[in-house]
Amino acid sequence: MSAIDETFQSLRQADRKAFIPFVTAGDPDLEFTADILPRLADAGAAICEVGIPYSDPIADGPVIQASYTRALDRKIKLNEIIDMLARATPRTSCPVVTMVSYAIVHRYGARQFVADVKSAGVAGAIVPDLLVDEAEEFKQICDAADFSLIQLVSPATPRDRAVRIAANSSGFLYYVSVMGITGERRELPPQLLEDVSWLRSRAQLPVCIGFGISTAEHVRQLAPVADGLIVGSAIVRRVEALADRPREECLGQLSDYVREMVAAFG
């Protein structure tokens, strides 16, 4: 059983849901990322998702794209990110997963990537550009290392395919709430609640919803049908806005935001 499985098991026993914040590694710098992860966990995050900056992120909206560009402009290297994670994960009281393009995984070597991030304390990966059809080999590598491969289902995914994706995922299933790229949305599609309920009734794994979520109202609306909610752009935007403020103020404000969102689960 992986760290993520254990997290969801204890959440279920307590009848609670997972709040999963996303931060970009190295934005504004690696020390900040190392410091924010324990604070997010302390504020109530069930899992932290760390985005590994990529030069051509086609699934990402302007906010996350810009954070990747800022990090890469500072010449941040993958081995520095892995070292940072190795420092941060022992101090972080919840599992950490990475969001990483397959372009990066392939270049690094899939087996080596899984081995190195796992020994840095990372529990799993979301590889947004690796379809279930292309993932067979990588899935085997992840399984052998007891490393969760969190796959995505979108509103465009036919139901039989969604069931197949669920069967090939581990940790949790990432349900993309909207057609399109990451980024905050005022309103979420009405069909969403029904689709996630259906998937949750069929999948063995916990189902978490991501893309577009930013407000406590979204949390109240979606919490009943999901096992967890993922918030990215709303956090990355706050990091950007607060980057020039004293570190402690920035860390504190982000913790407050996470507490507010976690409280909205009720």
């Binding site: 990529y54 699934a59 993958l78 393009s101 550009d129 292309e134 465009a156 395919r161 057609m179």
Partner: protein
């Protein structure tokens, strides 16, 4: 290692290259496109409509022109030019956009998006959309908008909206990223007419098929008029659509009949062989994932796409179509490169010798073609794919010339 003749396979693999590396949101649309394309291929009515458009709207077949004065200057093989520059809209790009526009109509979609580098694909897409009554949005890097102004104006005249892309290197690569992002949100009613043999399956196969009219016409002209196949064929390679269209029928012919026509793909050698100074992944890159497929690419050791450079916007791209990677490793095609200076010189040479202004992209093939011809005998023939005309480049060339005079 053995190399299958019929590529790609059902998963879009050319040997180990190709595939489909995209977000799940696009997966269904790509599968539908693949199915629809296969149905269209088997539908004589679709083929008839496509061929009729090529004949009456594009003006095909394009001529194979004997360039006698260029031949004399090169001093070797007889040089022929495959005149894709004479197509409607001035390049080979229209062969693909009309095919995909017919598919768009079959799929019942009303909106089309595209990316463009040099603007040739943008103009060809805007043209096809006007012809079929589709809404058209073209993504173009800010830097390319600057250096290809005439095409930007043409796209607007044809009713397309040109969206400037200011992220990253502000060139073709970033335009593809933005088009993909648009498509993620609009895939229900929008078709993405990708302009080269790049991207996720089925695009590399489909674009190659629509462009392969270039190679088929060339082979039949040579057999009918010259009584023999050429000895050598040269085409420029950015994403590689004109080269794929020219080479695919020759690769097949070579394999089936053991004919040994030598095929040369010419990448953008830019300023130098230093990383960042060229756009030649087949020459200097290594296999990796970019824009939905596995192919040779310019990446750093972390898998981040590297900046590239070419004087020609249409070749200024860090990746290349997966079938070219396959052909390279299988030895079916030889890939080489030509630097900015040689391409600019070839532009001038062809203009003066033959009264033809070639696109800067095609000028790379002209330069390498003349070099190769010089090393061949007068009994041999060499064909250069003149993929587009150079009117769009005139202002940029004038600027570059005055810059170099000023130094």
């Amino acid at each position: 290692m053995s190399f299958p003749v019929n590529v790609p396979d059902a998963a879009g693999r050319f040997g180990s290259f190709g595939g489909r590396y995209v977000p799940e949101t696009l997966s269904q649309a790509l599968s539908q496109l693949d199915e629809e394309y296969r149905r269209a291929q088997a539908d004589p009515n679709f083929q008839r409509k496509y061929e009729s458009l090529l004949k009456t709207y594009v003006g095909r077949p394009s001529p194979l022109y004997f360039a006698s004065r260029l031949t004399e200057q090169a001093g070797g093989a007889q040089i022929y030019l495959k005149r894709e520059d004479l197509n409607h809209t001035g390049s080979h790009k229209i062969n693909n956009t009309l095919g995909q526009a017919l598919l768009t109509r079959r799929m019942g979609k009303q909106r089309v998006i595209a990316e463009t580098g040099a603007g040739q694909h943008g103009v060809a897409t805007a043209t096809a959309c006007a012809r079929f009554g589709f809404e058209c949005v073209v993504y173009m890097g800010e830097e390319d908008i600057r250096r290809q102004q005439p095409n930007v104006f043409n796209m607007k005249l044809l009713g397309a909206e040109v969206r400037s892309v200011s992220s990253g290197s502000r060139t073709l690569r970033d335009a593809i990223n933005e088009a993909m992002r648009d498509w993620m949100a609009s895939v229900d009613n929008t078709h993405y007419i990708i302009g080269s043999v790049v991207g996720p399956h089925p695009f590399p196969m489909m674009v190659r098929d629509f462009q392969s009219v270039i190679g088929r016409e060339t082979i039949s002209y040579c057999q009918d008029q010259l009584g023999k196949l050429p000895d050598c064929v040269v085409a420029c390679v950015g994403g590689g659509s004109n080269a794929a269209g020219m080479f695919a029928p020759f690769v097949e012919h070579n394999l089936e009949n053991n004919t040994g026509v030598r095929l040369f793909g010419v990448e953008a050698g830019g300023r130098s062989q230093q990383p960042g100074d060229h756009a030649a992944p087949l020459s200097f890159g290594s296999p990796g994932v970019l824009h939905g497929s596995f192919s040779y690419v310019m990446q750093n050791e972390d898998g981040q796409t590297e900046d590239v450079h070419s004087v020609s916007a249409g070749l200024d791209y860090p990746g290349v179509g997966p079938e070219h990677s396959y052909w390279k490793d299988a030895g079916h095609v030889t890939y080489t490169q030509c630097q900015d200076g040689a391409a600019l010189a070839a532009f001038g040479t062809l203009a003066a010798a033959e009264g033809i202004l070639p696109a800067l992209e095609s000028s790379h093939a002209v330069a390498k073609g003349m070099e190769l011809a010089a090393g061949m005998s007068r009994e041999e023939t060499l064909i250069i794919c003149l993929s587009g005309r150079g009117d769009k480049d005139a202002a940029e060339i004038a600027r570059l010339r005055s810059e170099s005079k000023g130094q």
